[in-house]
Subunit: 209 residues, 2 copies
Amino acid sequence: MSGKQEGTRERILSVAETIILQRGFSATSIDDILQNAAITKGGFFYHFNGKKELARALVERYLDEDDRIFAGLFAQADAQSDDPLQQVLLFLEQFADMMRTLQDTHPGCLVASFTYESQQLDGDVHELVKQGVLIWRKLLLARLEKVAALYSPCAPISLTAVADMFTSSVEGGIILSRILQSNEPLADQIMLYRQYLQLLFQPQWPSQP
Amino acid sequence: MSGKQEGTRERILSVAETIILQRGFSATSIDDILQNAAITKGGFFYHFNGKKELARALVERYLDEDDRIFAGLFAQADAQSDDPLQQVLLFLEQFADMMRTLQDTHPGCLVASFTYESQQLDGDVHELVKQGVLIWRKLLLARLEKVAALYSPCAPISLTAVADMFTSSVEGGIILSRILQSNEPLADQIMLYRQYLQLLFQPQWPSQP
DNA sequence: AGAAAAACTGTACCTTGAGTACAGTACACA
DNA sequence: TGTGTACTGTACTCAAGGTACAGTTTTTCT
């Protein structure tokens, strides 16, 4: 494994992701990728057996990168507070900030993109996507369980659904941001999720006498 | 305008929408549509000048249909209560129910699908999509303004962002539902949005002495 | 009934893209 | 010095998408 290979493979993946998020998987030709990645067809097929294998590698890379980002933000949040609720709130705040300050509008989410082209992809790619969503659910759920143990929610809820609401807010926010061509809606939606958690787990007022 | 034309044109649109939501726009060939709509290539091009014009017609049809559904649900809700907050809450409840009881998993949203293939489509299609999102924002915002006039929100918010949260919850919920292959997550996310509104506009407890 | 417009059918054509094959080259590393 | 890795470059096949258009049926109007 020389540095050269890793560089080229990574470059193909990076370029492919960018184009696919703009045009969609099916509309992206291998030739498009070749041109932007400054590589030849032979080189591409040296690294990937075909377009479907590229898709698989893209999802894997995307989910890994996402894990890393979330882990980093949670580590930051954990360093700032010991309270489980505060940790989640800080995480969301920092994540929203990160999204708001992106250079361009958010490029989009590969998971969502592939979800709308599922029939073009192998079943195992869909399985990967599903596992990704379940990992995000698990990540939030573990945090929310700790929160719920300390602050009882002031309304009946399914913690799993509340955990999924993170993914939903991000995916929904990304769609809004792409359509409205600004990162504000995405940041707003993450912050509204944060506010929902705040309201849900706010200390109960004592009942009236 | 004979019934036959309307029938054929509508059949093409209906079939095209179904296939496009499954495979994506670019991955859907005109031949695919022809086979499922039982029409020939010539017939297709009699109705549409090409694939891009089909896309345009699909979005227009989709947004119209959506308007009709939302108007119907709000009319139902308005008949059941005079309170603006209750009306929104009833609307969301009924909408969630409608989604939950769909025969198959939700087919997907054309707006989201096209958002992830924007570069394949004409600029005016993107403009239509944008107008659609702004109509949904306006629809909710008008309701929320009435609510906010009666019940002051218990936290600082942008009403526009809260209105957008409806679209975000639905789009995010649809993605979750498609990936997890169940309509529950979509219904859950709509109901969580409902709960957020409930918590946000709940009557304030009197402050402690 | 008959003309004219509308609603198609059928087919031929051109282009593009996916994927294959394979011969040659540059470079590291031992 | 040689051997494997990581490519480049070219040339090809096959399938499909999109388009054009000439011809045919059906409806409509008078």
